[in-house]
């Protein structure tokens, strides 16, 4: 089992304006099972993006360790795919080339890269957009590309940093439903960062509430899958968990 384990992870910055060290993440310990969908939710400034950037290997940790499959991770790597809030698609590559980028970096032969990319584009209903450039797509479509680009590399863990925060509300609901569908089909391990309580509960098996750099509480979400907004929105379990998470986030 390729579990992801965070052991007393912490991050301290030196703030030149305050002239002091600030702790963004404070002794966070967390284990994510293979195939699990975990949301990390918290108000802005709670350290959730810092946490994700450490797991992704974008910034060094100040203390503790990150273990994937029992081994410590160091720097960014293809076994930890990332989906960015800003999409971060390569503007000079077509949709197909963007999705084929990971397989290409793994050294797969060109026809194979292309067939893998086409398979994943079809999974997100993007087959028709393969030859377009990202700037020719809507925000929602761009982020679909962002998600399948990360998935096409077949990562052990998919790290998602508020990926749907910059698309409109209707598109966001569609993307959330699509993500749960794709997750059920492929069962990647997902860590999903968000400030949106409803989104966190709708998507995940488990919601981790983060506050001031510490884990405030972990809650299981026992909603049936597949999940669709028109059903979930009326569900009493969804309402109860959301209310509790909201209370925790607001009191944080």
């Amino acid at each position: 089992m390729k579990n992801l384990t965070l052991r007393e992870l912490s991050k301290t910055y030196f703030d030149p304006y305050a002239g002091a060290h600030l702790t963004a993440v404070h002794d966070v310990s967390l284990t994510v099972q293979q195939g699990e969908f975990v949301s990390i939710v918290g108000p802005s400034g709670c350290g959730k993006t810092t946490l994700l950037n450490m797991i992704a290997g974008f910034i060094p940790v100040s203390g503790g360790e990150i273990l994937l499959d029992g081994r410590a991770v160091k720097g960014p790597g293809p076994e930890r795919g990332v989906v960015f809030q800003s999409f971060a698609l390569f503007p000079w590559k077509t949709v197909l080339e963007n999705v084929a980028f990971g397989p290409k970096m793994r050294g797969l032969p060109r026809p194979e890269c292309e067939s893998v990319a086409r398979e994943y584009l079809a999974l997100a209903g993007l087959a028709h957009a393969a030859d377009r450039y990202p700037n020719e797509l809507s925000g929602g479509m761009q982020q679909r590309v962002g998600v399948v680009r990360a998935l096409a590399n077949n990562p052990d863990v998919l790290l998602m940093d508020e990926p749907f925060a910059s698309v409109d509300a209707q598109t966001r609901m569609t993307l959330q439903e699509e993500l749960t569908r794709i997750w059920q089909e492929r069962r990647p391990t997902i860590i999903f960062i968000t400030h949106d309580v409803g989104e966190a509960v709708f998507l995940a098996d488990r919601v981790v509430v983060l506050s001031k750099g510490r884990v405030l509480k972990e809650l299981g979400v026992a909603l049936p899958r597949p999940r669709a907004w028109d059903l979930v929105i009326e569900d009493s379990a969804y309402k109860a968990v959301s209310a509790e998470v909201l209370h925790l986030v607001r009191s944080a």
């Binding site: 290997g57 974008f58 971060a88 390569f90 503007p91 000079w92 980028f101 970096m105 450039y133 990360a150």
Partner: protein
């Protein structure tokens, strides 16, 4: 007013069908004014010849093979110098743009040498290399280098950090990130550098040919001054303008349309 609008509409439709018209029509009033001033003999004819005399001299110089030869010399010098300037400038710009230590060490030096200017090197170059191709190539490379380095470094630094991170987390090595992310991301700025570099290089070349002078468009013009042939001087000036227009609209603009504009990195 309506008549003017109709005429403009007709012009727009014509240029849409035959784009070449767009590059010719704006020059008609300029040439007409020139012809009128020359015909009115405001200045003595020998000092201010008209378009027809220049056209005649163009035909005769092409016929004698002088103009094609000189043009070839000038363009070859410019091409070699520009290629060398880019080959040096782009890697240097990437280094300065990506590496804070390299930037700290090289930036002041770059600014210092940029300020010396191309022509200011000519006196010492003439002592070192004489009236030679080396001298001219040095001047062009020097002129092209700085706009390319500075603009490349600027472009490299403007590539969003998320794109570096995305590539790294998809398994790209640092070297692959430079090739797949940094260079294409900086391309619009590299093109700006090339455009400026070529423009300055072209001017520097003419100046160098005037001083070093054995052949080339600059030499043609200066040689014509010695012979007192205003016609040939004007011809040289027109060739300079035309050539730049051709390089811009046939080489630079198409590259920009196919890259930065297509990718949405720069607005049309």
């Amino acid at each position: 007013m309506t008549l003017l609008l109709k005429a403009w509409g007709l012009y727009a439709r014509l240029t849409a069908r035959y784009p070449a018209i767009r590059s010719i029509v704006p020059f008609i009033p300029v040439v007409a004014l020139w012809a009128a001033v020359a015909e009115a003999e405001v200045f003595p004819r020998a000092f201010f010849p008209g378009p027809l005399e220049v056209a005649r001299s163009f035909v005769s110089l092409v016929y004698k093979g002088i103009l094609p030869d000189y043009l070839e010399d000038s363009l070859l010098r410019l091409a070699v110098g520009t290629a060398a300037g880019m080959a040096l400038g782009i890697p240097l710009g990437v280094l300065v743009g990506l590496n804070a230590r390299a930037r700290a060490m090289l930036w002041p030096v770059l600014l210092f040498f940029q300020a010396i200017g191309d022509i200011a090197w000519l006196p010492i170059l003439l002592i070192w290399f004489g009236f030679s191709l080396t001298t001219m190539t040095f001047v062009i490379v020097y002129t092209v280098l700085f706009p390319v380095v500075l603009n490349t470094a600027l472009g490299v630094r403007r590539v969003p950090v998320e794109l570096h991170r995305a590539a790294r987390s998809l398994g790209a090595s640092h070297a692959r990130v430079v090739w797949e992310v940094v260079l294409p991301g900086a391309l619009p700025n590299i093109m700006t550098g090339l455009r400026n570099g070529l423009g300055y290089g072209w001017r520097a070349l003419i100046a160098a040919e005037i001083i070093v002078g054995t052949s080339g468009i600059g030499f043609l013009m200066f040689d014509a001054r010695r012979a007192g042939s205003v016609v040939e001087i004007l011809l040289g000036m027109i060739v300079l303008g035309l050539l730049w227009y051709i390089v811009d609209s046939w080489v630079l603009a198409p590259i920009e349309r196919a890259t930065g504009q297509r990718w949405g990195l720069v607005t049309q």
